[in-house]
């Protein structure tokens, strides 16, 4: 099965990842492998890869936990990247957005908002108050 090996610096939770092609090789997958997670071994000559694409399945995978075997091969754990695999369809979905980088509403209370334990106090006088001078009022029966 042909796979395309990549190096990516994108975050795992990025929907669209920037990929740098490293190699395109033919490998054999164990018969019991699932399409979501499986192990595969690559030649030790192939270095600096952390991502791959399986054209036959149309799915992208993270390559993690490389382990060097006795025969010089390197075993990787492949786990599906559903975000990259279904990115076009995900973009068509509509949902209720809890938090957003650019579409935030800062008038909604946010318990994660970092607030210091010190308050600022401001004072401001009204333009007018009672007089400095006293007036005397004499109440007299007439």
């Amino acid at each position: 099965m042909i796979i395309k090996l990549y190096k990516t610096l994108s975050e795992d939770n990025a929907l669209d990842k920037a990929l740098t092609t490293v190699a395109e090789i033919d490998i054999k997958i164990l018969a019991t492998a699932t399409t979501t997670t499986f192990d595969l071994t690559l030649s030790g000559d192939i270095r600096d890869v952390n991502y791959m694409y399986v054209p036959a399945w149309g799915k992208y995978y993270f390559l993690k936990a490389p382990r060097v075997e006795r025969n010089g091969l390197v075993r990787y754990s492949a786990s599906i990247d559903v975000l990259m695999t279904y990115k076009a369809q995900i973009r068509e979905e509509t949902g209720i957005i809890l938090r957003q980088e650019n579409e935030g509403n800062l008038y909604i209370a946010d318990s994660s908002f970092p607030v210091e334990n010190r308050n600022k106090m401001f004072f401001k006088k009204f333009p007018k108050g009672f007089d400095e001078l006293l007036n005397y009022y004499l109440v007299v029966g007439v």
Binding site: N13, V82, E93, N102, V115, K124, N135, G141
Partner: protein, 551 residues
């Protein structure tokens, strides 16, 4: 083939399909039909503009302003026709029905309103379905027409006997078709529900606010709340003018200065005056002097005369109050948002006001944010009592009361009374101190009832104990306090990391298509309906979206 004409700014919508909206922006136009498509060409100078079509389809015609003004029905067939015609502002919808038979043919029937129809207008024209292709029926639409819908009658098999309910939609065979826009009403286009959009929950003519007449429905349930019109209403409540309290000639309140006080004293102790007084009144002059109060406010409602004691004129000139109550306008303070976030409101931002003679009163900042805090005192010069009105630009929000007059002892027993009055207040102050120690913050002197729950929130640092004293300064203690009112605002200190939005995002709570968003996004709830993936993969996607992804 040319079949009719429309006026400027008409919008044609064919078969309720918003994609087939055609906006006609011509001074004069002609409506042609070519392979079921409408086109517009230049047209002449006729007074009336017309559009007409065979009545083998249901038509809906609506306008936004000055819409359907004249209808003309021309039939060459045998059928019953009902026309519903009306406008929002001028008159309610009403029906016009006539029976046409071979023996009683009707041609050129017209309905019109001399004033036209303003607001949402409409024409609904139905027939009984007995179409005779050999004798087609036409109707004519008078202009100006802002919007024309054309809906095949097969979409809504509406019998001509159907019940039309004003502003509510219409009922057909027990089904209710409300007029509610499927999309925001921003493009001046009426949009009706089609059969596929019909929602049984909306089938209640008593609660539906139909579009466009009650715009604010938004497709909410009609039977479980959410039907408020959400129309903001408020009425400004100004402070009433001060009552002109007076006792006429029973007693007078003289506005005295230190000079006039001395002049009066000299007069009272002069032999001639005392003899005269005793001979005429047969009593002590001081019995007529009921009190002397020092108030740090000059009464303006005064007249000038001489001081009268009993029926004797002391011949000492002084101003006396025409009525006893006056106002002191302390002005206003503008409140603007400091953070422009929710932090500008309670319980995060706290505001108190120091009121001379009343103490420090906590307020809800929500009542004043982006508004004004106005302070007005109303003073009773007879007793020295005062009431402080705290208001925003719409009305009084809270009040406080106190004693701004210092009762001066002018006789020996007055001095004892003043001292005991002060001791009573000391007792009150001790009570206030105890309240602070126990967390039960007492209210300031009467009239203060604004200690809001906002001050005891548990979010962030707002649950810090509030130990700011209110300290009422009533009685004769009031004069010893500060005489200038001021506000105290407590604001939190925000410490936002540089990449807060990029890493965590701000609270959003909007409904959005993910493809329309950029950057970090955390979904609260979503139904994955467009993804052809396994259940396991869908679960992973939903979980990731709820944890936060970068779009």
């Amino acid at each position: 083939m040319s079949i009719g004409k429309v006026v400027n700014n008409a919008i044609l919508v064919k078969n309720d399909d918003p994609t087939q909206v055609k906006t006609v922006r011509v001074t004069k136009g002609i409506l042609d039909r070519d392979n079921n498509k409408f086109t517009v060409t230049e047209w002449g100078e006729d007074i009336f503009d017309w559009a007409y079509e065979r009545i083998d389809e249901r038509w809906r015609i609506g306008g936004l302003s000055g819409a359907v003004a004249l209808f003309n029905i021309y039939t060459g067939n045998e059928r019953n026709i009902t026309v519903y015609l009306g406008g929002q502002d001028v008159e309610s919808f009403r029906s016009y029905t006539y029976n046409e038979t071979r023996e009683n043919p009707r041609e050129g029937e017209q309905w019109s309103n001399a004033n036209g129809f303003k607001g949402g207008c409409g024409l609904y024209l139905f027939y009984d379905g007995t179409t005779n292709p050999e004798k087609p029926t036409y109707f004519f639409i008078g202009a100006p027409v802002a919007l024309i819908y054309k809906t095949p009658i097969v979409a809504h098999p509406v019998p001509y006997e159907h019940t039309f309910i004003q502003h509510k939609g219409y009922e057909v065979n027990g089904l209710w078709y409300p007029y509610i826009s499927k999309t925001p009403y921003t493009d001046n286009i009426f949009r009706d529900y089609s059969e596929s959009d019909y929602d049984p929950r909306k089938a209640n003519p008593t609660t539906i606010q139909g579009f466009p007449f009650g715009v604010n429905n938004n497709g909410l349930s009609t039977s479980k709340g959410g039907q408020g019109d959400m129309v903001d209403w408020t009425e400004d409540i100004p402070i009433d003018t001060a009552p002109r309290l007076t006792t006429g000639d029973f007693l007078r309140v003289y506005k005295m200065s230190a000079v006039t006080l001395n002049q009066l004293r000299e007069k009272l102790i002069s032999n001639g005056f005392l003899d005269n007084l005793i001979s005429k009144l047969r009593t002590n002059a001081m019995d007529y002097i009921m009190g002397l109060t020092a108030i740090p406010l000059s009464a303006s409602n005064v007249a000038t005369g001489t001081i009268q004691i009993g029926n004797l004129d002391t011949e000492v000139s002084a101003e006396f109050l025409s009525w006893y109550i006056g106002d002191l306008d302390c002005g206003e303070i503008d409140f603007t948002e400091y953070f422009q976030t929710y932090m500008d409101y309670s319980p995060y931002t706290k505001v108190s006001v120091y009121l001379p003679f009343c103490g420090i009163i906590p307020l809800s900042v929500d009542a004043f944010m982006n508004d004004k805090l106005k302070l007005t005192y109303r003073v009773d010069f007879l007793t020295g009592y005062c009431v402080a009105f705290i208001s925003n630009s719409h009305g009084i929000v809270t009040t406080a009361s106190g004693q701004c007059g210092y009762q001066l002892p002018i006789r020996s027993n007055d001095y004892s009374r003043v001292i005991s009055s002060g001791l009573g207040i000391v007792g009150g102050a001790a009570s206030a101190a105890w309240g602070l120690a126990t967390g039960n913050i007492p209210l300031a002197a009467g009239g203060v009832a604004a200690y809001t729950a906002a001050l005891s929130s548990t979010v962030n640092n707002v649950n810090k104990p509030d130990v700011m004293s209110n300290g009422a300064l009533g009685g004769n203690f009031g004069l010893l306090g500060n005489r200038t009112p001021y506000i105290i605002i407590q604001r939190p200190t925000i410490s936002i990391p540089k990449d807060y939005a990029k890493t965590l995002g701000y609270m959003s709570r909007i409904s959005a298509k993910l493809g329309d968003l950029k950057g970090f996004t955390r979904v609260e709830e979503i139904h994955l309906e467009h993804i052809n993936a396994s259940a396991e993969e869908k679960g992973m996607i939903e979980s990731l979206l709820k944890e936060g992804v970068i779009l």
